[in-house]
């Protein structure tokens, strides 16, 4: 969960308003000044502009297009997109508000560009990482060699709240635990991408990636064509193929379904979207029945056997007989059917273990242990509060660090040091002393910003990048992902549950 912080402006700010280098394209003296409102350039990496203010090579065509548009044209296009989102019901649900719980997903009109070289590194890095993480899950839930070899402390793994004892010794189809992953990447000051989170449970947002692309093609057709953007539209088909490849043995025409918690889930739009794009049934727990360790769904033509479940329901809520008994979202008996090998559930149960923010700190070591390779993508520096030395350092520097609860996601349960009050820090210090295993700390990161359209002007906003990785026969990553934006000035969190928005991500040929 990226945290974005308000950064002090430095003296470079004044250069933000200067006319861009007129030599950037022969014969084109483009006056961009009017578009740039308050556009500070400081030590955070700017996706579009060099520290000198010059537009980066890949962004030049975009900058020219923007400069050539009539004053209110961008605004007009933005409004037409907003309206389209509303009538199409491309919305998400905000918890904890009674009125207006359905909102359109805030969306920025300018694409984020990723060059072929940058993407190549991301792709290789993520493939390596997902492969290692999958081997880790398989190892921990079978022989646990990595623990015996003391690469990762036994206690750390077994004390994780997402560790599922029920998975011990269970044979998972093709040994694939994490078929669908959405890792969060950040770009640091030096331009390097690092991994902030792996998101191995039920990552969401892929529908926004796909709708953003469709909207962008309509909004900037010529620009899009001129850029040579690599396509992402085949994601649903790849997902379907991935799920098919994981079907139980002897089911040549598997019945694949998408299991949703239902219409009140914040990602419900995405569930319906993916089900429709794949042409599979969208089921809720109440549609499923198990009998003799076989899962069926209730149809108008009686009970139909289910072979593969793409699960968008958390472990805890999936089967009241094995996990939380008070949950009505899942299907009683599902886990036993899964254990019997009669149904594939993706992602597997217990994958949240490798998502634990303390386990995260060991991923580079996993990569070396299982693959005997150096990690291509780095981690963010992480302090484990269960280690005495780390804890001492963190407690002394709470006002400079970010503290996160290890099992949470979505931006909840954390302390942002520089933004915190003394009493909040005291409260966290107490909680850390009481349960050090439950927390980690990271330095407050300054990560990259990209230009966004704010009130008819360009202003930089902090962004992350969430590519979507599929793992069936092999690892597949569609070139692109969801660029999430902290739309509020200064900076905030990028999570959609907390006011973030998104951008289309163009990976160039």
């Amino acid at each position: 969960m990226p945290i974005l912080l308000r950064l002090p402006r430095n003296r470079r700010e004044s250069t933000g308003r200067k006319v861009l280098d007129p030599t950037m394209k022969a014969g084109h003296s483009v006056e961009l000044d009017s578009l740039y409102g308050d556009y500070p350039l400081d030590y955070a990496f700017d996706e579009m502009r060099e520290p000198s203010g010059e537009v980066r090579a890949q962004y030049r065509a975009l900058a020219e297009t923007l400069a050539a548009l009539p004053a209110d044209e961008l605004h007009r296009r933005k409004q037409s997109v907003d309206l389209a989102f509303l009538t199409q019901g491309i919305t998400f649900t905000v918890y904890g508000r009674e009125e207006g719980t359905e909102r359109i997903f805030p969306y920025d009109l300018l694409p984020r560009l990723v060059t072929a070289q940058e993407w190549d590194r991301i792709e290789r890095g993520l493939t390596q990482r997902i492969t290692a993480l999958n081997l880790f899950l398989r190892d921990v839930y079978s022989d646990a060699k990595i623990l015996a070899d003391r690469v990762i402390p036994r206690e750390l793994v077994y004390s994780c709240k997402h560790y599922r004892r029920q998975m011990r010794g269970l044979q998972v189809p093709r040994n694939v635990y994490i078929a669908v992953v959405g890792s969060d990447l950040l770009r640091l000051n030096n331009g390097e991408f690092v991994v902030l989170e792996d998101n191995l449970r039920v990552p969401s947002g892929v529908s926004y990636m796909l709708t953003n692309r469709r909207v962008m093609k309509r909004t900037f057709p010529r620009l899009f064509a001129s850029y040579g953007v690599r396509p992402i539209e085949h994601y649903p088909q790849l997902l379907l193929a991935t799920l098919r490849s994981l079907a139980p043995e002897g089911r040549p025409e598997p019945n694949i379904v998408l299991l949703t918690p239902g219409v009140f889930n914040s990602a419900y739009f995405e569930h319906t979207y993916l089900a429709r794009q794949m042409g599979v049934d969208l089921v809720e727990g109440r549609d499923l029945v198990t009998h003799d360790n076989i899962v069926y769904m209730r149809t108008t033509d009686g009970l139909k056997r289910v072979d593969v479940i793409y699960r968008r329901v958390d472990d805890d809520f999936s089967d009241p007989l094995v996990f939380r008994s008070d949950s009505a979202l899942g299907c009683a008996g599902l886990f036993n059917a899964y254990r019997a090998g009669n149904v594939t559930v993706s992602n597997a149960f217990g994958t949240g273990l490798a998502d634990d923010k303390a386990v995260y700190a060991y991923v580079p070591r996993m990569i070396r242990y299982y693959l005997n390779e150096d990690p291509i993508l780095s981690n963010v520096e992480t302090f484990l509060l269960s280690e005495d030395k780390d804890r001492k350092h963190v407690l002394a520097n709470l006002d400079k660090l970010v503290v996160k609860a290890v099992g949470e996601s979505g931006g909840y349960g954390m302390l942002i040091g520089p933004h915190s009050t003394a009493s909040q820090r005291e409260e966290f210090a107490r909680q850390i002393e009481a349960n050090p295993r439950n927390y980690i700390a990271q330095p407050t990161l300054q990560f990259s910003r990209a230009p966004c359209l704010i009130d008819d002007r360009l202003e930089p906003r902090h962004v992350d990048l969430r590519p979507y990785i599929l793992f069936g026969d092999k690892v597949n990553i569609v070139p692109g992902g969801l660029t999430r934006v902290a739309l509020e000035r200064g900076s905030l969190v990028v999570n959609s549950s907390q006011g973030g928005g998104s951008k289309d991500t163009w990976v160039l040929e």
């Binding site: 509303l86 009538t87 199409q88 019901g89 796909l210 469709r214 539209e233 085949h234 994601y235 649903p236 088909q237 379907l240 025409e253 239902g262 219409v263 419900y268 739009f269 569930h271 319906t272 979207y273 089900a275 429709r276 794009q277 794949m278 042409g279 049934d281 969208l282 089921v283 809720e284 109440r286 549609d287 029945v289 009998h291 769904m297 209730r298 149809t299 108008t300 033509d301 009686g302 009970l303 139909k304």
Partner: protein, 338 residues
């Protein structure tokens, strides 16, 4: 997005012959709610135009008659102002008779089966929903109720049109059709039952002009005035009006037509799915069909017309129950037996 499911045609063809029970349930109710909203709008429209003319029942009596025709005689107590009552009937978010409630109900059901209906359908319904909840609709009500009612009806028609042109005419479509026709048959039967004592039994006590307006109102409540004239000319007689709304084979708001439509849909569902033959359902809808096909208007008027109409409503309810018993709420034990 053009991502077809290339190479998986087989899985697709296999899929066509059944759907999730919950989905069928939602499509059926989506359709019933919209039909109900349409009916409420049209009856309100007719009532508001009838009170403009002098003579005949007073406003309050008319309001109660309309409530009864909408199926809830005790619903929405009269408060003296037709405008306020109309506002409630259109905008009240809680009262199950209100247009807003029905449109929201339809949309909520559609939202739960978003993946089963086409994007075009969803957009029309979503637009209608946002329209009726907008400040614009409120101001339209104040400036011109007729425009507002017409725009709601337009929204519903657009949805029906897109349903027929953009959705696969498979089981889901049949459930939508089934919901529409059962709701309409039931509503028309209720309407006739409510009007029946006044219009079909008094004979010549009332003035001819007033009676004429009442008959026109009744026909317009079912959008059938022009259609009636095409068949019978503008000569309005009680027997003919009843015959037209009850027994006409070709007019979509006539009960006979609706029952035929529901029967075709049930056969369609049975044809596309159908491991378990829904014997009682087939015979239930068949009986209702036969009752309307093989009875003529003289027999109905010679006998007890009120109980004939009441019987139609009872049979519609029974058919609704049977649909649930066979397709939605069947017991797992009985399903496992197959």
């Amino acid at each position: 997005m053009g991502s077809g499911i290339v190479g998986f045609e087989k899985a697709h063809t296999e899929k066509k012959d059944r759907m999730l029970s919950r989905v069928a349930d939602s499509l059926y109710w989506m359709s019933r709610y919209l039909e109900r909203a349409e009916n409420a709008v049209r009856q309100l429209d007719v009532t508001m135009s009838l009170v403009l003319d002098t003579g005949g029942p007073n406003v309050e009596t008319r309001w109660h008659r309309m409530m009864a025709a909408l199926g809830k005689p005790e619903g929405m107590p009269w408060n003296g102002s037709l405008e306020q009552m109309a506002r409630t009937l259109i905008f009240d978010p809680i009262d199950p008779l209100s247009v807003t409630f029905c449109v929201s109900g339809a949309r909520e059901n559609a939202r739960q089966v978003r993946e089963e209906i086409s994007t075009e359908q969803w957009q029309r319904l979503n637009r209608l929903y946002h329209h009726i909840h907008s400040p614009h609709a409120q101001s339209q009500f104040s400036s011109s109720v007729n425009d507002l009612l017409a725009s709601i009806i337009d929204g519903i028609y657009l949805f029906k049109g897109t349903t027929d042109t953009t959705m696969i005419h498979g089981q889901g479509w049949q459930f939508i059709r089934l919901g529409r026709y059962l709701e309409r048959a039931y509503a028309t039967a209720t309407l006739l039952e409510v009007y029946q004592p006044e219009l079909f039994q008094h004979g010549a006590q009332e003035s001819a002009a007033h009676l004429y307006l009442e008959f026109v109102g009744l026909l317009r409540s079912c959008t059938s005035f022009e259609a009636y004239c095409q068949v019978y000319t503008a000569d309005l007689s009680p027997a003919r009006v009843l015959e037209f709304l009850l027994l006409n084979r070709d007019f979509p708001h006539a009960i006979r037509y609706c029952v035929d439509g529901a029967r075709e849909s049930i056969q369609g569902i049975q044809h596309t799915g159908g491991r378990r033959a829904p014997d009682e359902l087939i015979s239930g809808i068949g009986k209702l069909h036969a009752m309307l096909v093989y009875t003529n208007i003289q027999e109905i008027l010679a006998g007890d017309a009120a109980s004939f109409l009441h019987n139609i409503r009872a049979q519609c309810l029974y058919i609704h129950e049977l649909i649930y018993r066979y397709y939605v709420h069947y017991s797992i034990q009985s399903a496992l037996a197959f």
